[in-house]
Amino acid sequence: MKGIITVLGKDHVGIIGTVCTHLSRNSINILDISQTIVGGYLNMMMIVDLSAAKKEFTILSDELVKLGEDMNVIVKMQHEDIFNSMHRV
């Protein structure tokens, strides 16, 4: 199963590092990562592989939200199918 992680918020040191460390601790592999910073605001998107993940999707999703709150950014993880259904015929 693949997930899409988005991170939005004011840029500061350690955001990507913190998210990636959490993913690595839970055996989640990063397949693609891209980011832009406009006017000091970070907009990052990751595609991750959750097939070997140690926890359930909903638990990981809650943990990432919490991680984001601690860093004052919005972190969201969604199952890739919502994007596939909407944008692929």
């Binding site: 999707f57 999703s61 199952h79 199918d81 994007f83 259904s85 909407m86 944008h87």
Partner: protein, 452 residues
């Protein structure tokens, strides 16, 4: 590979334009609960509902988290009680309404529909008991919704039932006047009711359905409005194309959620209902779509045409996106639930007569309209008859959900709270239709019903 723009577009729809899965509604057949003893019937009904729907709320919440889209309501529809309870030896179905209320609360859903009767051609004894039980049931329960189908294009209109429903609506208003006549917000009178509608208050589980089924309603007036902002003042082809593409995308999300919900609950998937259902939130309004299309206010000349465009293109986009589009699919025009409609009604731009014209091309009918509490039962019946005639002749579903607000007059307001919103009391034509309504019997089926 999914692109950044696609992710951004989807999440903007959800976060900024209020795209949501409005409801996952589980349809449950209650025919197998039949019993001559009403206490035993109630017990079986409670058991069946709480067994079938025990995981409904949990699964809805899980899906919301996993796909990152709000699943606003989890609801239940049941076999019309007038059919399911027909074998009970009793003269009141109020206890059944209590059972439905209790079962719905036990599984955590916020509405249960199906306290209903289908009387398009005539009433059975059970239909009469049900209809007579409506006012008391809606007074004494919180989450039970009721509907009565009084006509079809195939059968004509049951005018005895139309007359009766005018009286029942007034009685319901009177009994719930302490709560601003809220009971009437949970009661809808249909012509051509559909059997797989997931939206309240008119949802019931049709007799041609499977034992248990999942129907999903998706919404998103805000998404359509946002998309139309991008093509402001473009020609009608572009306008239609934009609505169609947006409806397609919204329906695809609904299809995904419906299939996942059906899989996880181990219940067959029924239909997707793509209905642009507004909420009182700013940016979640059908009237704002009209304004974006170029009307100063909802109700201005051109509104019926604008609604026809909207309704038709929502359907066209929807049917491309799912093989099983059903329910009511189109655009709802409830007054109290739509911020822009409320403003238009307050300004006098939107009248009951214009709303009636709009219902010729919307997906349902006169919805959540507050009228003066001293409106007579026969006038309410007259409004129902007009609306039903539109449905019967045009082969479409029409409905009436009027709230006669006891003790209030034109110009005053009524506040229902939450998703039901608030509404100004709208004026009703003061001329009488009493002699017309008091004629007994049926209006015969229209000529185009003879299709065999």
């Amino acid at each position: 590979m999914i692109t950044r723009n696609e992710v951004l577009e989807t999440n903007q729809m959800i976060e900024e334009s209020n795209l949501d899965v409005r409801t996952i509604t589980m349809g449950i057949n209650l025919m197998d609960c039949a019993d001559a003893d009403i206490d035993k019937f109630n017990e079986k009904v409670y058991q069946k509902i709480t067994t079938c729907a025990k995981d409904l709320v949990k699964v809805g919440d899980e899906l919301a988290k996993q796909f990152g889209i709000p699943v606003v309501h989890k609801r239940i529809s049941v076999t019309p009680i007038a059919i399911a309870a027909a074998g009970c030896q009793t003269d009141s179905y109020v206890s059944i309404a209590h059972t439905l209320d209790k079962a719905a609360k036990a599984v955590g859903v916020n509405f249960i529909g199906g306290f209903s009767a289908l009387v398009q051609k005539g009433c059975t004894k059970s239909d009469e008991i049900l209809i007579n039980s409506i006012p008391q049931s809606l007074k004494e329960t919180d989450v039970v919704c009721s509907s009565v189908n009084i006509g079809t294009s195939r059968n004509g209109l049951n005018m005895d039932a139309v007359k009766k429903m005018g009286e029942i609506i007034l009685q319901t208003a009177e009994l719930t006047k302490e709560q601003d006549c809220l009971g009437c917000a949970k009661l809808v009178v249909f012509c051509n009711a559909v059997e797989d509608n997931p939206f309240m208050a008119g949802a019931f589980h049709g007799v041609g359905e499977k034992d248990c089924v999942i129907n999903v309603g998706v919404s998103g007036p805000g998404v359509v409005k946002k998309a139309l902002e991008e093509v402001r003042d473009a020609d009608f082809e572009t306008l239609c194309e934009t609505i169609k593409k947006t409806a397609f995308k919204i329906t695809r999300v609904g299809q995904l959620i419906a299939q996942e919900a059906a899989k996880r609950l181990n219940v067959p998937f029924g239909i997707i209902d793509l209905s642009l259902a507004p909420t009182p939130l700013i940016g979640d309004s059908i009237a704002e779509i009209f304004q974006e299309m170029g009307l100063q206010e909802a109700g201005a000349p051109g509104t019926t045409a604008a609604l026809a465009i909207l309704n038709d293109n929502v359907k066209k986009g929807g049917v491309m996106a799912s093989s099983y589009v059903g329910g009511l699919s189109g655009a709802f025009i409830p007054v109290s639930e739509d911020h822009g409609m409320i403003v238009a009604a307050e300004k006098g731009a939107l009248t009951l007569e214009k709303l009636e014209a709009m219902t010729c091309v919307c997906s349902v009918g006169l919805d959540m309209i507050a009228i003066p509490g001293d409106t007579s039962a026969t006038t309410i019946s007259g409004i129902i008859a007009d609306e039903a005639a539109i449905g019967m002749i045009n082969n479409k579903t029409t409905a009436v959900r009027l709230i006669p607000v006891i003790g209030k007059k034109v110009g005053e307001k009524v506040e229902f709270g939450g998703l039901l919103g608030y509404a100004p009391i709208m004026p009703v034509n003061a001329y009488s239709c009493e002699r017309f309504i008091k004629r007994c019997g049926r209006i015969p089926a229209p000529i185009h019903s003879f299709k065999n």
